[in-house]
Symmetry: C2
């Protein structure tokens, strides 16, 4: 439901400005009349078609998040999700990601990353900056300063490694009473959490999410804004095994980019090239590889490591033939 | 004076932890006792010597800015400056930049950028985010939203290109009363200004700077935090013409990286290789090239373009022989 609505929002906003794209080399006009036609001929240098499409997708995510908040009030539905979207328009692919899903293009065995993940570790400085500017959001229980581990009371006055919102390096600071609070971002890698609650820092929804057993809201720290990457379809020749792979964290947690790419390439090479189901089957293959096999000790991968216990959604989308479509 | 004090702050803080660097492969300990010796043997994975030196330099800039504020109160000295510092330590070069100065390494005719500039354009999203979170800093005269140009009253209700703090692209929004305020960031390129006042967004000092004819402070939008880049001296063989070039914006405004590199390389190749003054003379050559020649119509470059009217400070620092020093 939500994905269909996001799709419609992006499509409708693109429809509003489609008439501006009739001349692909012209910059979009600065100002439009109320009905959408150009108000003045002046164009903004630097505002290209790409930047306009990117801006529309960015705003559609925001609108979607606002709609979820409204629906929540009407229907009391809670929860949230990451969002990863791909838009194919005028010979280009726009991939928008808000969360820890991931998209890669596999072209002639080369892997091209089409998204970055947004986690407490990758977004540490943004989260800390907000906590620093608005300490009331931390509810007197958390400190925006990062320490490698929880500080013990007996360590007051000693020197501890720390990172503040302006720092990329670590330095030592003398521990004061306030540093005994729980760190806003705590844990490493997959275990890193915002206020001990959530391990992903962008997405839609979660307007009601609170720190366990408290009245502290998480939502102010979550961003619904995607990062949009652009891929020039028209600039490359694509074979039938060149694909865009989009997957949720459940896929990527247990399988690397390289393994995913190799699995898809080797699966597709064994299929009948005329089988219309081959991309769907490749996605299913990826899903099952990451889930593993149910054994006595839970879902296991061939190497006996744990299979992914998280949701897994995968798309494998062929790129061949898309170069010329609009 | 200020540069000597910054130098001392960095040196003193490095001195505090120098004993931790005796074993270069060991990670710095998480916690130190009050006298600075390791409190526990536990080490922070990810906290390397590089990140500790980076953290120390980052904090020294902050301390320096705090000191300037204190001095200002005692001696009523106003003003501010960008800061660019290079630290040579244990086979590496750490270059820290806060502002629009620039450092490049020229090695075997290749240009290696050692800094990024911090201007209203490069830092737009950070500035807008602060204006969004703390609108009181904008004094009811500015809007944190960026528009391509000042909006006229008669355009109310029309649609204008805009960018908000979460966006990298442009989109259209319907103009409302609040959008008639002056944009926080206005102008393009060299003319971009924060609240129509300052064209650089990081540096030291400027605690008293206000928007002309108002009581709106600029300092909250300026950051004193440098970006630190690391260069492995030990990993390369340097000839006598391989140099680190550090210069203020007055140099780079009128001369490109490539022109600066070529000018230095060609100047050095004409010098007596045993002349101890050759690097100083190369710096002087750069300065004079960017200043130009005084003609009837002001300082002019050979191509008749205006010479730089800004302060120009240049260092040309040889890299040869530094690989082994500590």
């Amino acid at each position: 439901m939500a994905s269909k609505l996001l799709h419609r929002l992006i499509r409708d906003r693109l429809g509003d400005v489609a008439h501006l794209f009739e001349n692909p080399s012209a910059a979009p006009p600065i100002c439009l009349t109320k009905n959408g036609s150009p108000y003045q001929v002046e164009a903004k240098k630097g505002a290209t078609q790409d930047s306009l499409i990117t801006g529309i997708i960015e705003n559609a995510f925001k609108q979607m998040d606002d709609l979820i908040e409204k629906e929540k009030a009407s229907y009391s539905i809670s929860g949230g999700c990451c969002a990863l979207a791909a838009v194919h328009l005028m010979g280009k692919l726009y991939v928008a990601n808000a969360g820890d899903s991931r998209a890669i293009i596999v072209r002639n065995n080369e892997i091209i990353p089409m998204s970055s993940e947004f986690t407490p570790e990758t977004e540490r400085q943004r989260l800390q900056y907000l906590g620093f500017l608005k300490p009331e959001l931390l509810g007197n229980e958390f400190t925006h300063i990062e320490f490698p581990r929880r500080i013990q009371h007996k360590e007051l006055g000693k020197k501890m490694l720390f990172r503040d919102h302006t720092m990329t390096g670590w330095a030592y600071k003398t521990i004061v009473e306030d540093d005994l609070k729980f760190p806003l971002i705590y844990g490493e890698g997959k275990k890193a959490r915002v206020m001990a609650t959530i391990g992903v820092t962008r997405g839609l929804g979660d307007h009601d999410l609170k720190v366990y057993n408290s009245n502290i809201h998480i939502k102010p720290f979550l961003s619904c804004c995607p990062e949009v990457k652009v891929y020039e379809l028209a600039g490359h020749k694509h074979g039938p095994d060149d694909v865009l792979i989009m997957g949720t964290d459940g896929l990527w947690d247990v399988t690397t980019d390289k393994d995913v790419a190799e699995a898809v390439t080797s699966f597709l090479s064994c299929c009948d090239p005329n089988d219309p189901m081959r991309y769907t089957l490749a996605a299913q293959e990826l899903l099952m590889r990451s889930r593993g096999v149910l054994k006595e000790r839970g879902w296991r991968l061939p190497n006996e490591r744990l299979g992914s216990g998280d949701d897994i959604t995968v798309f494998v989308i062929p790129l061949a033939g898309a170069e010329m479509e609009t």
